[in-house]
């Protein structure tokens, strides 16, 4: 990867489709391809699709210099519990930590809360004698006989992988390393994950749970990558294979095998990178992504061309929208949050007589009522159809037709309970979904101390372009970008990713300690050396490695940190002053001013090393033929009744064209709705740039004079 090859392919295996992008760096264009995912063995469809896209370009896989891949393998394995038979070896006295979790009820009124079962059942959680204290000092020496006995018992029980998680191992890995060495020597075929390597951070439950998740998917990832490499080689591919990790960078197959949990959110990470890239093309370094698909909508904040990285996420939630109902995973991940429903989310009337949308989804079967597969409950897609946003005869580019009367029946059925007709219900669903997504996105944005009005929005995903303008309006966002090729945004994003890796090391210290600067410098050097090795080992020249340093810091005595960038170079008094000032700035931005007399504490340092960022384009080599742009008109509903609305074929819209709303722009994978008052222009990259009219401030509907309605008792 020192010299970027001419041909690169990104491919993303999703739930329904596998998307491919072939980039020709010399001609500076891309080619898109989609094929159906083959769920039984996704590599079958992927290899077939790879063959098809190179053939369409008149190439063979031997011509391809680099293949970048993202996969839902890890996510699915956790959700479906299809990982390795796993054992855990932990400090004596603590084998149940994994099952206790936080012991917190995530919904205070639900007496019957369900929690995800631990990845390791109690019978395979074994204890060994050892103990470190908070400073990493040995209190009780590791008993290696215990380790041998535990490993033997687990292997006899048929485990394929073993997680090792000892208390305070983030501070001193000596016992975990010694245990791993013994196990690897005895059982070289068993995958071993160490908590001190997977995530060297304080908080035993989250660290050990993450280590177990890593071990759980290790054998799976190993087999998968091995087979993929083998099959690609068979087909003549001689270039480099990389995998996308959750934080928006690439790793070598070796690193993916060692830390598969880092790949948990590789698809969405690609989407985040694509958003940043689309924003960059439009000259907008600060954008909000809005990605709405069949079951969920996601949002991500891009600042100065980069997505924020979160240190922790929750996987495999029992309740999709309830924090605390999933497995904690401490691994760097693009900070993308689920903000709500998707096209398939069901509408209903709740106990207090209000219209609710989601969290239940119709899924693919029976799907929305309008799919005509027996669904009788209305979904967001049914509402959009009823409102005239979708053409019943041109869904998915005509591959599917929709049953409008079925949608109308379903809508009228729910609406009837609260006195609304089918159209009012449809408009209600559209508004509730739009508002709730905007509300969730707003929380995410303001939590970071940001004002959404300063951002542009990038909308994509199957249902995204139909809802993005509404969400943008509620957030006060003035410009919405609907990029071309948005149907394969994640695959495109993979090609924008540099090789990168991040490591964290907890090392709590007060900034007012006399040796603080020296100690920070020493930890940084140590972690940086390890992290750089991951990049140079993958073929990046040492001179091309870029290092970013940051620290998780807090006021001394607090329990939660904020991440603050650290200056480059030697940590001296000047650097320490800069660190303090940067913390104070970041803290004030999010919460409140740092008041006098408090001490700042550094808890963990983070090192992110990356290689060069590849060049990318969205000029399409195989853009569908032009033709007539305006396809006709149809009636569409925008709150004040149905209006005659022009319908356009996106592929036929020339650059520079301007269209005033109301208008509907159709393409194969999605439909863009431009409301009255909004207007759209196609820019030189083929991106539709939509100017969002300012929302009318809602009438002063509720004043002291408004009569108080009372229910009869």
């Amino acid at each position: 990867m020192t010299a970027t090859p001419r041909y690169r392919i990104g491919f993303d295996i999703g739930g329904t489709f596998t998307d491919f992008i072939l980039l020709d760096a010399e001609r500076h264009d891309i080619r898109l391809h989609k094929c159906l995912t083959t769920p039984a063995d996704p590599s079958v469809g992927a290899l077939e699709g790879l063959g098809e896209i190179v053939a369409a370009a008149g190439l063979t896989l031997a011509d391809i210099g680099e293949i970048v891949h993202g996969t839902t393998l890890v996510t699915n394995a956790l959700i479906e519990r299809k990982g390795a038979r796993l054992g855990l070896i932990t400090t004596r006295g603590f084998r149940d930590i994994l099952e206790m979790g936080t012991e917190q009820r995530y919904d205070i009124y639900d007496l019957f809360l369900q929690y995800p079962a631990p990845l390791v059942p109690r019978r395979r959680r074994l204890e060994v004698t050892e103990r470190l204290d908070r400073d990493g000092e040995i209190v009780t020496k590791l008993n290696l006989d215990d380790v041998r006995a535990a490993a033997k018992a687990l292997v006899d029980d048929g485990v394929e992988a073993i997680a090792i998680g000892f208390l305070h191992a983030y501070r001193n890995a000596v016992h975990e390393r010694a245990a791993a060495e013994v196990i690897r020597a005895l059982y070289p075929d068993i995958a071993v994950s160490l908590s001190s390597e997977v995530v060297a951070e304080l908080w035993e439950y989250q660290r050990i749970a993450t280590t177990c998740a890593n071990a759980f998917v290790q054998p799976l990832m190993d087999r998968y990558v091995r087979r993929l490499e083998h099959e690609l080689a068979q087909r003549g591919f001689a270039g480099a294979l990389y995998l996308m990790h959750s934080a928006g960078g690439l790793v070598s197959p070796d690193t993916a095998r060692a830390f598969p949990i880092r790949l948990l959110e590789s698809g969405p990470a690609g989407g985040g990178l694509a958003t940043a890239f689309f924003g960059h093309l439009a000259g907008k370094p600060d954008v909000i992504s809005f990605d709405m698909g069949g079951t969920t909508a996601k949002a991500c904040l891009i600042e100065n061309g980069r997505a924020a990285i979160a240190a922790e996420m929750e996987a495999a939630r029992v309740h999709r929208f309830k924090k605390g109902s999933g497995l904690p995973v401490k691994a760097p991940v693009i900070d993308m949050i689920e903000i709500g429903a998707g096209g398939g989310s069901l509408a209903s009337v709740d106990e207090v007589g209000l219209l609710r949308v989601g969290p239940h989804s119709a899924g693919a079967d029976p799907g929305p009522a309008c799919y005509g597969r027996g669904g009788t409950q209305p979904t967001v897609t049914d509402a959009n159809l009823m409102l005239g946003y979708y053409d019943p005869g041109f869904f998915l580019g005509g591959r599917m037709s929709l049953d409008l009367p079925a949608a109308e029946r379903a809508l009228a059925g729910v609406g009837g309970k609260i006195g609304l007709d089918a159209v009012q219900t449809a408009w209600g669903i559209h508004r509730v979904v739009t508002e709730s997504m905007a509300a969730a996105a707003r929380i995410h944005i303001v939590e970071k101390g940001r004002d959404p009005r300063a951002y542009a929005m990038v909308g994509f995903g199957g249902a995204g372009p139909a809802h993005a303008a509404g969400v943008a309006r509620v957030l006060g966002v003035a410009e919405l970008l609907i990029p071309p090729a948005s149907g394969a945004a994640s695959a495109l994003g993979f090609l924008a990713a540099p090789l990168s890796f991040e490591q964290v090391q907890s090392h709590p210290l007060r900034l007012d300690a006399p040796d603080a600067a020296a100690r920070i410098g020493a930890v940084l050097r140590e972690v940086e050396a390890e992290t750089r090795l991951r990049i140079t080992a993958a073929g990046i020249a040492a001179a091309d490695v870029v290092t970013e340093r940051s620290a998780d810091m807090r006021l001394f005595g607090q329990l939660h940190e904020i991440n603050v960038p650290l200056p480059d170079g030697t940590i001296d008094d000047v650097a320490m002053a800069a660190i303090r000032a940067e913390f104070a700035r970041a803290y004030a931005e999010r919460y409140t001013s740092v008041y006098e007399g408090v001490v700042i504490q550094l808890v963990s340092v983070r090192i992110r090393c990356r290689g060069p960022i590849p060049q990318l384009t969205i000029a399409q080599a195989d853009v569908p033929a032009g033709g007539v742009a305006k396809k006709g008109t149809r009636q569409a509903y925008f709150g004040d009744g149905f209006v005659e609305t022009a319908v356009y074929d996106r592929y036929a819209l020339p650059q520079g064209v301007e269209i005033a709303g109301p208008a509907i722009i159709e393409e194969r994978e999605s439909t863009t709705i431009i409301a009255p008052g909004d207007s759209m222009m196609v820019d030189a990259t083929g991106t539709m740039r939509i100017r969002i009219a300012v929302a009318e401030p809602a009438a002063a509907r509720i004043t002291p004079a408004t009569p108080l309605p009372r229910r009869g008792r």
Partner: protein, 560 residues
């Protein structure tokens, strides 16, 4: 008008909840004490100008969101809304007006629009220390229990009340931490106020009264509908506790009449002269209506309307409606028995909506000074086993009826010089039943350093000598105790129902075991495959499978 628009109402109601949720997050991220930031022993609330609740944070200490309206009304009585100024912040920790003991401080911020108070944002949080004795079971009066803050102003028009802050700082241990937490509450309230005003701007609202009336009425209507679904009747039950080594009996009589419920604690024991076991009426009422909400309308967003159909009666001067100035600090040891009593009473009326008794939680308070003279004082939270219900087993280790989170062992150890030696489930402590209770937990701690300095451990295991039978034939969960052992495992001290243990050497181990949850249904009816799994995982011993569950096959099955 708004009542006729269920779509707008849903949207606006959801926005109110996001305001309190943001306040909640602000506190988690900025507070200083383990008990607030990690265990999350606090709640945030949004109230209308009359002090009625509009919305509370989805994660909230249940008692707090029910007592905060009472505290706010008391504050407004002393400082009527029209006398308040922008920048004012009100405060109290009066147990009779707030959450029942002095640790729980209410901080309340009026929200102004067009020069009028349109709402109040409020936080109630359990600070790490409030002064007074560490030996709460010996306390006789509120004066023994710490620093009292009657309804006062914490800020006057934006200026901190330095006199109050100075007094507070002087009267509590780890004062910087306590004041840091208060600072965090004030910041969260202010953030909530800002967000609320932005919301009102977006909707062109000058006032929240109409919206408040509608959301409260909607919740009330849904609650009344749910009550009507219960068969009318009088339902009775009783439970016992044993906080001072003598069993106390708590009868309860629940009258369901059409769309109302009356909970009557007539016959409750008299208030106790010592031990801080007494509940103020506000605390009792909160613990009485909270389980009813869980049974009847768990999905409905909570606000004042939900609770209008309920009446709670408790005899004046009883342990459930105590008089000032009796001691109240350990009132959870009484109040936490109210929910299982109500579940038991209503079991026949709503068998699928109730839960067998849960093993009660404990927070070991660890306190001392290290060799450098620095004070450490933190709460180590842990839960017992959850009670089973009609459909599912109880979870092993769950904090209930609080909404707190447990304390990370590693984090605890970085803050206090102790070593946790064990924290694990205990086999056979889950109450047998067709659905099994969750397992109880044993925790063992010692001092880290042999420095000869005393470390205080407050060990008050709840439920010693009490066996809460399960429901419909389910049995009680196992064994609660607290002891101090030497390295050979011999018991040096049995703390009985509670002692403040002082250790100055590392060869003494404090050991606390919390109860498992009670079972639901006849243990003989437990699915053999589930029981075989229980045995294989060591939740149930082979002997117990044979005796308590009367299923020897399952024990054998697991051995295969």
């Amino acid at each position: 008008m708004i009542e006729a628009d269920p779509v707008s109402l849903e949207i606006m109601w959801a926005r109110l909840v996001t305001v309190v949720e943001e306040m909640w997050h602000t506190i988690v991220r900025t507070a200083f004490s383990l008990i607030v930031s990690e265990a999350q022993d606090f709640a945030t609330d949004l109230l209308d100008p009359d002090g009625e609740s509009l919305a509370h944070s989805p994660r909230a200490m249940p008692v707090f969101n029910l007592t905060v309206p009472i505290a706010v009304k008391a504050l407004l009585k002393k400082y009527p809304a029209e006398t308040l100024k922008p920048g004012d912040v009100l405060i109290t920790n009066d147990p009779w007006l707030c959450a029942g003991h002095l640790f729980d401080i209410a901080v309340v911020t009026p929200v102004f629009r067009d020069g009028r108070v349109v709402a109040l944002t409020a936080t109630v949080g359990h600070v790490g220390d409030i002064g007074g004795t560490k030996d709460s079971l010996r306390a006789r009066e509120i004066y023994d229990e710490g620093f009292q803050i009657p309804p006062m102003k914490l800020y006057r028009a934006g200026e901190p009340n330095e006199d109050l802050l100075t007094l507070l700082h002087t009267n509590v241990r780890k004062a910087d931490e306590v004041l840091g937490d208060l600072h965090s509450f004030v910041a969260a309230n202010q953030l909530g106020a800002d967000r609320l005003l932005a919301f009102m701007n977006d909707y062109g609202m000058h006032d929240l009264r109409a919206l408040a009336a509608v959301v409260q009425d909607r919740s009330e209507g849904a609650m009344r509908d749910a009550i009507r679904a219960l068969p009318d009747g009088v339902y009775e039950s009783e439970v016992f506790n044993n906080p001072l080594g003598t069993k106390l009996r708590y009868p309860v009589k629940i009258t369901v009449a059409d769309d109302t419920i009356e909970v009557d604690f007539a016959g409750a024991p008299p208030q106790q002269p010592q031990g801080g076991l007494n509940c103020t009426y506000t605390y009792t009422a909160a613990h009485a209506v909270y389980p009813l909400k869980c049974i009847l309308s768990p999905q409905i967003r909570s606000n004042a309307g939900c609770y209008r159909p309920f009446t709670v009666l408790a005899p004046q001067g009883s342990i459930l409606n105590c008089d000032k100035p009796v001691a109240v600090n350990l009132r959870t040891r009484t109040g936490w028995y109210i929910a299982p009593n109500i579940f038991r009473a209503l079991a026949d009326a709503a068998p699928n909506q109730v839960q067998a008794a849960t093993g009660l939680p404990h927070a070991v308070n660890i306190y001392g000074r290290d060799t450098a003279g620095n004070v450490y004082a933190d709460h180590f939270f842990m839960g017992g086993g959850q009670g089973a219900c009609a459909r599912t087993d109880g979870k092993s280790a769950l904090l209930y009826p609080t909404s707190a989170s447990n304390t990370s062992i590693e984090l605890m150890e970085t803050r206090a010089p102790v070593l946790v030696m064990e924290k694990n489930f205990v086999t056979d402590t889950g109450g047998p039943g067709r659905q099994r209770g969750g397992l109880g937990v044993r925790t063992v701690l010692r001092k880290l350093h042999d420095d000869g300095l005393p470390t205080l451990f407050s060990i008050y295991p709840e439920g010693v000598g009490i066996a809460n039978d399960g429901l419909f034939g389910g049995l009680h969960g196992g064994g609660v105790y607290g002891v101090v052992r030497d390295l050979d495992g011999s018991i040096v001290q049995d703390v009985g129902t509670g002692e403040l243990v002082s250790l100055d050497r590392t060869d003494r181990l404090v050991e606390v075991q919390l109860a498992g949850g009670s079972g639901y249904g006849d243990p003989g009816g437990r699915a053999p495959a589930a029981l075989a799994d229980d045995v294989a995982d060591g939740y149930v011993s082979p002997e117990a499978a044979r005796t308590a569950y009367r299923q020897s096959a399952a024990a054998t099955l697991a051995a295969d």
